[in-house]
């Protein structure tokens, strides 16, 4: 019995699943991270992911090719980001309430539009989604082949986004401006750079990432759109940002760790399901997210200007 629980770790399927489950979380966590680095908490994440999932899927269902589907999802995400930024950055409205409002709006609009396009379908139709890539030689490797080299292009995109975001945040001048907007907006303004513009752009880019994360679910994982399919992944991403101390590399680590535990949970459920009700396994991701925030709480250093609206010429 104990051996069985250990054997899960030797199973290539488990590791491959870990990588797949991590993908939407990577997109979403990096997206939230960029927003918060600029000083804006984006609680619209859950709804924006729903919108991304719906739009990406629908675009492909209605005849667009897969990359175009991702593009549409990103565009819709950026639009919701723009709405969020107009409220929170330009008018200084509460970031908490705005975010919840955006989540309600984005998800209800997505469901409304989905029902309009597909009035009644008991079994959601599937699309011709991203297929696993066959990489010569590498895909055929024992163990490492199925774990690392039999994924879809969308999966590799998620992992590619990590170094890209690291470069954006840590090396690019735009990233420096984002960080200053979140730490010391007065100093940024003193440099002659418009804080509001930087924050708006950051929220738009971040929201586009979130939407792509949602699209991953409908275009590379489930290949169909379900109601309530985001299932708290957005909120988990917010916890992961804190766990990662607002650093992209640690965000990747957090997402992988989290996905690993989730993948393990599903398999352990099959072994222990007889004596532990399955609901407790399903609770694990949420419990772990809370736990992760507690662990991170001690070393956490929030971006100094997070949640604080900036107004030109006003001191804080």
């Amino acid at each position: 019995m104990i051996i069985d629980f250990f054997e899960i770790l030797l199973n290539a399927g488990f590791w491959a699943a870990t990588i797949r489950i991590a993908c939407p979380l990577i997109f979403a966590t990096l997206g939230e991270l960029i927003c918060e680095r600029a000083g804006v908490l984006n609680l619209g994440i859950e709804g924006i992911m729903t919108a991304g999932a719906m739009v990406g899927w629908t675009a492909v269902y209605l005849g667009a090719d897969l990359p175009t589907g991702i593009l549409y999802a990103a565009l819709v995400g950026a639009l919701f980001g723009l709405l969020h930024a107009n409220f929170t950055v330009h008018l200084g409205a509460s970031q908490h309430v705005t975010g919840i409002g955006i989540t309600l709006l984005a998800s209800s609009l997505s469901y409304f539009a989905f029902r309009l396009i597909l009035p009644s379908s008991t079994t959601p139709p599937k699309i011709e989604a991203f297929q696993p890539l066959q990489i010569p030689l590498l895909s055929d490797l024992p163990f490492f082949g199925p774990v690392l080299f039999q994924h879809t292009g969308f999966t590799y995109l998620a992992f590619l986004l990590v170094p890209l975001t690291m470069w954006l945040i840590n090396k690019s001048p735009f990233g420096l401006a984002i960080k200053m907007a979140g730490e010391n907006p007065m100093a940024l303004e003193a440099q002659g750079i418009n804080v509001l513009t930087i924050r708006t752009l950051a929220v738009m880019i971040g929201s586009a990432f979130m939407a792509i994360g949602g699209a991953y679910l409908t275009m590379s994982a489930f290949n169909a759109f379900y109601f309530g399919m985001i299932n708290g992944r957005g909120w988990i991403a917010i916890a992961l940002v804190i766990f990662a101390s607002w650093k992209p590399k640690q965000a990747l680590l957090g997402a992988l760790l989290f996905a690993g535990l989730d993948a393990y949970q599903v398999r352990a459920q099959q072994l222990a399901g007889a004596f532990i009700p399955y609901q407790f396994f399903l609770m694990l991701p949420y419990v772990l997210s809370i736990f992760a925030m507690v662990i991170a709480a001690k070393k956490t250093r929030y971006p100094k200007a997070l949640l604080i609206p900036f107004r030109r010429g006003e001191r804080h």
């Binding site: 709006l105 299932n231 925030m293």
Partner: protein, 353 residues
């Protein structure tokens, strides 16, 4: 365009806010109706008819408003203290589990005692459900937004577990539902042969009580002080932590009451679809009322009208029911924007400084 802060927001302007917000959300709804190929005016007619067109419709609207008043109060009181409780959905279910545990046969008292007892138990359970988030916030400074949100998922999975096991009604023929609340605990109808029950009155009385506490007691003043500026409240000698914990528990308790009205009033037993998101809609209710307890009663009735009306409208006009959720979301955002805008005067020409 330039904004300048107002020193004082005139009364008529604060009154205008919710009205403008409602008109704007109806305008968005009309746009969506046109997209959905349904004539807006005819659709609105069906919506009003569905919500108020008959005795049954009115009762249904009142029954739907009941939990929304309570979750609206839950969000309202917490948001006043800037404690972001987004977990009313979970706290509602906690209240529902608790009344199921004590109310399905374990305890049986005469109605006059049983019903108050169930409300007390439900409120306590709601307060207990918010405690982990409060404790984590006070001890480790863990953001309560995320913990209350995540607790919703945890508690709903727990409901699924109890309905599969310990609280499953053996007579339910396999459906995941609990046994019925004992007769003495069932909230009586207040309109004959309809689903409008005593919970509606409880909700309104609760709103009056919260209005009194917030407006007329020192505790109400402390809540506002904490919400306005917690460090100033601290320096003026208020025990900020104590106030915060108490506010959170009251907020959770109010959401727990909604669990009681739904279990013992509307349905009669606990199921997994007891609440179609009343906890989240409560945030919209509170926002539309600008967190005012009396206003919350009216905004809950308004949003209940939208939901109940949209049900029959969508049947008549073949429009997705999700339209109601869009209206609710737009309402939240337009109230928010108008609240912010009333704080400022506008200058459309930028005058030089």
């Amino acid at each position: 365009m330039r904004l300048e802060a107002r020193d004082h927001v005139p009364e008529w302007l604060t009154f205008l806010v919710p009205i403008l917000a409602i008109f704007f959300s109806l305008f968005v709804a009309a746009t969506l109706l046109i997209i959905a190929d349904a004539p807006p005016l005819e659709s609105f007619y069906y919506l009003i008819k569905g919500a108020f067109g008959s005795k049954n419709a009115i009762a249904e609207t009142g029954a739907r408003a009941t939990p929304l008043i309570l979750t609206g109060l839950a969000a309202g009181i917490a948001f006043r203290a800037k404690f972001w409780n987004i977990g009313a959905e979970g706290q509602l279910y906690a209240g529902a589990i608790a009344v199921t545990v004590v109310g399905t046969g374990a305890i049986n008292l005469p109605s006059t005692l049983m019903i108050p007892f169930l409300f007390l138990v439900g409120a306590l359970a709601g307060a207990v459900a918010i405690l982990p988030s409060v404790i984590l916030k006070q001890l480790f400074k863990v953001d309560e937004v995320v913990t209350t949100l995540l607790m919703n998922f945890i508690i709903i999975l727990f409901v699924s577990f109890v309905l599969d096991g310990p609280l499953k009604d053996p007579m339910s023929m396999g459906w995941p539902q609990a046994a019925s609340i004992v007769d003495s605990g069932v909230l009586p109808q207040i309109m004959e042969r309809t689903r409008l029950h005593f919970g509606f009155i409880v909700a309104i009385v609760t709103a009056l009580m919260i209005w009194f506490i917030l407006g007329k007691t020192t505790f109400g003043f402390k809540i506002r002080a904490v919400g306005y500026n917690s460090s100033a409240a601290y320096h003026s000698g208020h025990s900020v932590i104590k106030t915060m914990i108490l506010v959170a528990c009251i907020s959770g308790g109010l959401a727990g009451l909604a669990g009681v009205t739904e279990t013992a009033g509307l349905k009669g037993y606990l199921t997994l679809d007891l609440s179609p998101g009343f906890g989240y809609t409560g945030i919209a209710v509170a926002m539309l009322a600008a967190l005012n307890p009396i206003g919350i009663v009216f905004s809950a009735i308004f949003l209940a009208t939208i939901y109940v009306g949209a049900d029959s409208m969508s049947r008549a006009m073949n429009v997705p029911t999700y339209l109601a959720d869009v209206v609710v979301a737009v309402t939240v955002l337009s109230v928010l924007i108008s609240l912010v805008l009333t704080q400022y005067k506008f200058y459309f020409k930028s005058n030089s400084k």
